[in-house]
Symmetry: D2
């Protein structure tokens, strides 16, 4: 659900030992963002999926994801992670409502919720975010593909995702009313 | 909740007698839309309020509102009514989720739900819609003002609205997390 | 999405000719309800599916569904249709929030939205409703089965539903976070 | 938003120094719960408000609130805090949907979001929870009162709440469609 070496990028005042210590003691707050493109009526036409290194060491299709920092608004964390993964010209359109469409509970034990993060217990606020600008995979993302809603819920695409990301993708598609 | 002579504008295949007949027998499906402007983080900065003739004959601050037509998608009805009231260059950004933030039940008897339409029982799907373009009041709207979230929930503004519109406005503000 | 001869049951002041006339001219307001049972933590454990005659003449697994009447609150319509289909001792627990988890647009042309009703354009407010009491299929429902979330999204069950009901069921499961 | 000495009650494996350390470095995950009673149609009839010591040292009307622990499901945290504050026979009915009706961002600086916690940056998932059983204030809660929706949004009640709790209460009332 996040960049392998995120702690180095964005939590520079937390040493590896410190984040280690906290991760063993408290749930960590995350955001997940599913970037999409829409037509003039607001219908989703494309869903953006990154390719990147995952917490479990695999290379996987994945959402935009990352921690909320101390003192940071959830909206700001969303923008920061979207721009980190999609580049500075993605033009994400954050919704005026602060409510996530779902919450995701990641556990080191994959059997608890179906969402898995071997490093930590994380609770993520999940948002669908329309992007209007040019996107290019940046930093740790190896690739970015745009899929139709049909393609995004195909078994082929699901099989390329780990840690429950394919389930999260389906929750997002259902939120938009486009599940098969 | 709608234009006084809407039946002439958009339901041309329904005569006045026919719409009269139906209004006495079935709830009529409406949409309500609260046009807003946001900053780069998605925070609402301004709420647009029309001034227009209301079903009860008063002139009142009001939302964008109107019927869903036979065969029409809810998304299309939203766009149509927003463009009818705000002009063709308003550039409304319809959300990818089809779910309204609330539903509003208007009755001829104002005591039932607090939402009042003397003409009919109407059930309205209510949406907050970000507009990105130039807006000007058109057709039956006499005026359009833009208010801050603070101003929009002031007693002065509430007193200029009838039929439960001030309550709907507060529900929209709460949905965006900005109620006082 | 509704009983074949619903007009006789609940719209007694509308003759067949009258409902015919209206159905050709306006979208009709419906509710869909997915009855569920939950454990002590609120996790869905079982989903109730009816077996009944459908608008297209087929016998199909289906949700609780029906029209909102003139003058009727949406909450009352929910209770009425749940009791009509599940019996008077079902004890439905209607949510304090009036907002449906999704809206469903049924059209005579099945290609428009993926939801199909050959008789009419209907817009349905869809709710998940916990039932606490004893349920038995009543009136036009031929049978009632309770399925686990896993079973409810199996291909076998999906193949027993028509008109988009399997899609609506998946939207409800996703709303509860239990889609595969 | 939480009991003054909560760390002693529920985070026994975190020393005061440890929780201090973490609170200066990461947002802490909370839940807020607004207990309500409903009528047979699901309309809210009463809202439960506690009286208790607040993080800022005041005695204030407040919601049920508290931390999510390491390894704990959000649903379990909800039940735990509701039973802690309302007693073991409150019979809270947790919703089948995992999505909060809003999120609340508490900051040591009250000007950032309007929600204030002098001890920490906390992000809270806020839920309305129907309770069916007997409630009595327990542990650190000094009192529990039940208010009508009208009373709950009165200026008198608002003036008895600190830290943004009156705003959260209004967001909950709006979510249920009963704001004035």
């Amino acid at each position: 659900m996040s960049m392998v070496n995120e702690t180095e990028n964005i939590g520079s005042w937390l040493t590896d030992d410190q984040i280690e210590f906290i991760r063993d003691r408290l749930p960590i707050l995350y955001i997940d963002a599913i970037p999409i493109r829409t037509d003039d009526l607001g219908n989703v036409t494309q869903i953006g999926l990154l390719l990147r290194g995952m917490p479990d060491g695999s290379i996987s299709r994945a959402m935009v994801s990352g921690r909320v920092l101390y003192g940071e608004r959830v909206r700001s964390a969303l923008i920061r992670h979207l721009e980190k993964d999609l580049g500075p010209t993605a033009l994400p359109q954050i919704s005026p409502s602060p409510t996530p469409f779902t919450i995701v509970e990641y556990f080191p034990d994959p059997s608890i919720s179906g969402f898995h993060d071997p490093r930590q217990h994380a609770v993520s606020l999940a948002f669908v975010v329309v992007v209007k600008g040019d996107c290019k995979p940046s930093q740790n993302a190896l690739d970015l593909i745009w899929l139709s809603p049909e393609e995004a819920q195909s078994e082929k695409v699901s099989s390329e995702m780990t840690g429950g990301q394919s389930k999260l993708l389906k929750l997002a598609l259902a939120h938009m009313g486009v599940i098969n």
